[in-house]
């Protein structure tokens, strides 16, 4: 398809979310602003006040109510969006499960932030990882352009008749939410055309076809509903890929569920998500220039977990460092490590995996840190076995 030229503007991550939401023009937004996602709701409510969108904006008294209102509106057949972070996402917890189990395609931007205590407003993945089992599709964004692109794709993914699931678009709080970067903006009518008109399969407001959503299902049926739900999210993977390709045809920016950067012939690979991938890419370039066989695997889609794609990308490496920006106190590594290692355990050929936890509460991860990780991976190859969990950049 012909590549169109797009207008470029300088914009912050949160503002880019609000801009994408404006172009989507959802029927309902119910939200309770929280740092570091506040500007999403702030800017979007400006659009509402200025009459630039047709959205019914519901100002609620908590995040629990925000998600509840989103669920009600979505069950009624509306196109629904919201945004939150950290404690706000935590307060939504029980409603997150209801949204996904009832198969409601709500799109939520999450500006990832640490969880209290101690209270901290900066970026890490603890909030989203706390919701990793909630049945939401989770997409992680590296930079402002990806946030914007992912929000638009999320609408199309979630509303796909085969998927019908809520989608969480994640990005690093402050690091990306408040970074001003250059954004290629898609024209309003192209966004509208790309996402299409939302035709809900079922609607509580359709009085000609009365339905009951989320009824009681005890030991004779609950299990079957949960397996059906698991099947739905597992099978959203090809749809996510298809939407990523269609988005590429429109913009020239093609998206897959993972992004391989010099992994094909790499002996040492770092796995990471979101903004850290930008830093790691710099280091990979630098070390590649020095002739070192290093690579980066970026996980864009964490739910559904793209195990096959990840396995193929990693199986020929010697040592893989898995960088988790969240921790599981009482366990021996972070969530990304657990998923990848247990998923690849049965392969005949697999690398040595080294777990890392980094960047909690917004702690910087620098090119020096990433360089050190690569030297450690080299050491581990010589020793032939991994060390225990390594915390990056922590004072002893």
């Amino acid at each position: 398809m012909m590549k169109t030229t797009f207008k470029k503007i300088a914009i912050e991550g949160n503002e880019a979310v609000a801009l994408a939401m404006k172009q989507v023009n959802p029927d309902v937004v119910a939200a309770y602003p929280i740092t570091p996602s506040t500007e999403v709701v702030q800017n979007f409510s400006n659009y509402v006040a200025n009459g630039e969108v047709d959205t019914e904006f519901v100002a609620v008294e908590s995040e629990h109510s925000a998600m509840s209102a989103c669920i009600g509106a979505s069950a009624a057949g509306a196109r629904v969006m919201t945004a939150t972070a950290s404690q706000g996402l935590a307060l939504m917890w029980e409603m997150l499960y209801i949204a996904s189990s009832m198969r409601l395609p709500i799109v939520m931007a999450v500006s990832n932030r640490a969880l209290s205590a101690p209270i901290n407003i900066h970026g890490d993945h603890s909030d989203a990882m706390g919701a990793r089992d909630s049945g939401w599709i989770q997409i992680y964004s590296e930079n402002v352009q990806e946030i914007y692109d992912n929000i638009i794709q999320a609408v199309k993914i979630g509303e796909d008749p085969q998927v019908r699931l809520p989608v969480m678009v994640n990005f690093d709080g402050f690091i990306t939410s408040h970074s001003e970067e250059i954004l290629e903006v898609i024209d309003d009518d192209l966004v509208k055309k790309f996402i299409g008109e939302y035709k809900p399969k079922y609607s509580l407001l359709d009085v000609d076809k009365p339905i009951t959503i989320g009824p009681l299902a005890l030991f004779d049926s609950y299990f079957e509903f949960k397996v059906a739900q698991a099947y739905a999210i597992e099978n959203s993977l090809p749809i996510i890929k298809k939407v990523g390709r269609e988005f590429g045809d429109l913009t020239g920016r093609y998206y897959d569920v993972i992004e391989k950067y010099h992994t094909d012939d790499a002996k040492y690979i770092i796995v990471a998500m979101s903004s850290t991938c930008g830093t790691a890419r710099e280091v990979v370039d630098d070390l590649r220039n020095k002739g070192l066989p290093v690579g980066l695997l970026k996980i864009r889609v964490f739910r559904p977990f793209p195990l096959e794609e990840i396995s193929l990308a990693l199986k020929n490496a010697k040592v893989v460092g898995i960088l988790d920006r969240s921790m599981i106190p009482g366990s021996f590594a972070g969530p990304l490590y657990h998923e990848i290692v247990s998923g690849m355990y049965h392969l005949d050929q697999r690398p040595i995996f080294q777990p890392y936890v980094y960047g909690l509460g917004g702690r910087d991860i620098t090119t020096e840190h990433i360089n050190k990780v690569f030297s450690e991976l080299k050491e581990i190859e010589k020793v032939g076995k991994p060390k225990g969990l390594i915390y990056i950049g922590v004072r002893e």
Binding site: R164, Y202, K209, P210, I211, T212, P215, F225, A228, A232
Partner: protein, 93 residues
């Protein structure tokens, strides 16, 4: 009734597509004690019909009777009956 397998539920999700089908769910087997009416004493005052929380006491135009498909055996009818013509008898296995 054949219960659906998970493959039947992927398309819809947890949704009931037809109204009024609570009728199909016979709750009578929840019952431990069964109300029985002594029609020699019954005055057809309709108190049981009025008080039954599950509308399981029916009226056929002449007398009241219990719909055992839905009566859960709570005993409200027996308790409210002013002439004590309803007795709760333990269900036999």
């Amino acid at each position: 009734m054949r219960l659906p397998g998970w493959k039947d539920l992927v398309e819809t999700g947890p949704i009931i597509l037809e109204p009024g089908n609570a009728l199909e769910y016979k709750t009578g087997d929840w019952r431990t004690f069964r109300p029985e009416i002594d029609y020699n004493k019954c005055t057809t005052c309709m108190f049981c019909w009025l008080f039954c929380p599950d509308s399981a006491v029916k009226f056929d135009g002449k007398k009241v009777y219990i719909d055992y498909d839905y009566c859960k055996g709570c005993g409200v009818c027996a308790s409210e009956c002013p002439v004590k013509c309803i007795t709760m008898k333990e269900e036999e296995k």
